[in-house]
Subunit: 344 residues, 2 copies
């Protein structure tokens, strides 16, 4: 964490702005591109079946950060790309992300997303599943229009890996015997695969060789892992308002995340019995969340999870070291800070 | 119907075998190809996450007819194709079909599929949604390996159209004001789009020009509509054992299909009140299915639906008229018979 902070301080001129500022700077860097991307998203989620754009608009327009398409756009910029292909490919990345969000919320039975009612809560599970399928298909239509088979290979492989990560998460849910290696496999699948694909695609459009593409993919993958670890930490730490989703969701759903793995590992037999009862069984009570948070705090499991995230953040920063210093690199370094700082 | 029968008699040498025989003949025509396709399906549904091939095997190996991949293989044969690309593309078609079946069963809350427990009944809704996503992504990976952008365009567009048809079906469900035009739009989306894509892709690999591709697409689209109309007729006519799915499902789910549209249209006010109560409201009783079947029978709605299917069958046959007579054309003509005869 200290290393990441030091590197960030060095990279950004020594000052620590708020996390939101980092995201704003990235958005400003590619502002006309992300605006074009947003227009394309709205245009291409159109369908004569009106419920499709209605439901899609609910989630697409719900104030998402557009982090993944921003990464595609900034990666292309970092590689010196000056064409227009990256705009449509950033939209593909966001469509795939949105499709997985719709299906995730159905699978997790979530009622909140980005601080408002989730699509499944508002429209029902059935259209959420089907509109997710539509957006996924539409993403592939956009990629086909772009016409690059390597991009298609990267994003179709990422889509399969995301589904594998989600299924593995289902399997490990409610199982306190889950290992840290399995947890990381889930994180790499459900989150990091799309971050890595988003940044790799940004490099691919610039066509500057495998080295830069590999480096930006490594950046995206490590950033994605850091992002998810912080997300998992926040679920035990954040106020509901700050998080924009229901706090304690992971606990209630019996998801085995790093904070729990740490607390379980370090806890005595009584603590483990608590985790087994609340996470594995059907015996969870409303008041158990407070006890879970107390145990998490006792073992500093949130802080230690964020520290681990910081190490992945360091790896993300290291992956950028071969690129020329400048606005684009600084913005991508800022994103690492954004991902970690939001836990503070 | 009489016309279709006459054409079929002419096309197949005058004898009417059973419907199953027609399918067997098609399977025999492309037997080594469909075996290679089946092997590829099993090979490519593999994942280190064991639940994925387990769940996929349940539906893939559940004795499906493999009608759609057979159509791809036979269409390629009809166009004189002698390469190997059609095998992998037939597998793509089946993967897309299987993905939509998994999601359909979740959306429809079905408990039976092909005469056995549906995947969602056995494994739960959550893995069914996610394994559907995996199979869909895997289909695109296979297409990317094939490397033809026109094929990718056809199958990604079909995938979007399928989702649109499914959403439109949701919207028209429980709404007796649904028009026949809306019903046909649902059918063209949820069923005919993939039939049309399957046969077009078979023509595309042979690369014999737009004329043959358009003709085989028209064949597939009309066949698909005929297939779905017969399916909808069977839901009010068939014995459960024959159908391999729960009889009366459409009625219980309030799906507005052609038999209902006919009976509603022709019925008096009392009959319409019955349909409104049972299809629109929550007031359906177990004994209502028998009354629904009585009203359907009174208006010969099953027979008239099958007659309509026969006209689409005629159009499918007509689309083949420009192709050389021979085993492949006869087999594709047989499939039309298979689709219609299974209603008898």
């Amino acid at each position: 964490m200290a290393v990441a902070r030091a590197k960030l301080a060095e990279a950004t001129g020594g000052e620590h702005d708020g996390a939101e500022d980092a995201l704003r700077r990235l958005t400003r860097l590619v502002s006309s591109d992300i605006e074009a991307c947003n227009r394309l998203i709205v245009e291409r989620m159109h369908s004569p079946v009106a419920l499709i754009p209605q439901l899609a608009a609910h989630i697409v327009a719900a104030g998402g950060k557009r982090l993944r398409p921003l990464l595609t756009l900034a990666a292309a910029r970092l590689c010196g790309y000056t064409g227009r292909r990256h705009v449509a490919l950033a939209a593909c990345v966001e469509f795939i992300h949105t499709a997985t969000l719709l299906h995730d919320d159905v699978v997790d039975e979530s009622t909140l997303r980005r601080g408002r009612a989730s699509a499944n809560a508002l429209f029902g599970n059935k259209p959420s599943v089907l509109v997710g399928d539509f957006l996924f298909a539409r993403a592939f239509q956009l990629m086909v229009e772009d016409g690059n088979l390597e991009v298609l290979a990267v994003l179709s492989a990422a889509s399969a890996t995301i589904a594998e990560g989600e299924v593995l998460q289902l399997i490990t849910q409610n199982d306190t015997a889950t290992t840290e290696a399995q947890y990381l496999e889930v994180v790499e699948g459900k989150t990091a695969a799309l971050f890595a694909a988003a940044t790799r695609v940004g490099a691919l459009v610039a066509d500057r060789g495998r080295g830069e593409a590999d480096a930006l993919e490594a950046y995206g993958r490590n950033l994605g892992i850091a992002f998810q670890l912080v997300d998992d930490a926040l679920d035990y730490a954040a106020e509901q308002e700050q998080l924009g989703k229901t706090v304690g969701d992971d606990f209630r759903e019996g998801k085995i995340t790093l904070p729990v793995l740490i607390a379980f590992q370090e806890g005595g037999e009584a603590e483990r019995a608590f985790w087994r009862r609340t996470l594995e069984g059907r015996g969870q009570q409303d008041e158990d969340l407070a006890e879970a948070q107390r145990l998490i705090a006792r073992h500093r499991a949130v802080e230690r999870t964020v520290e681990r995230a910081g190490r992945y953040g360091d790896a993300a920063l290291a992956a950028l070291s071969g690129f020329e210093r400048g606005e684009a690199r600084a913005a991508l370094e800022d994103v690492v800070r954004f991902c970690i700082e939001r836990a503070r």
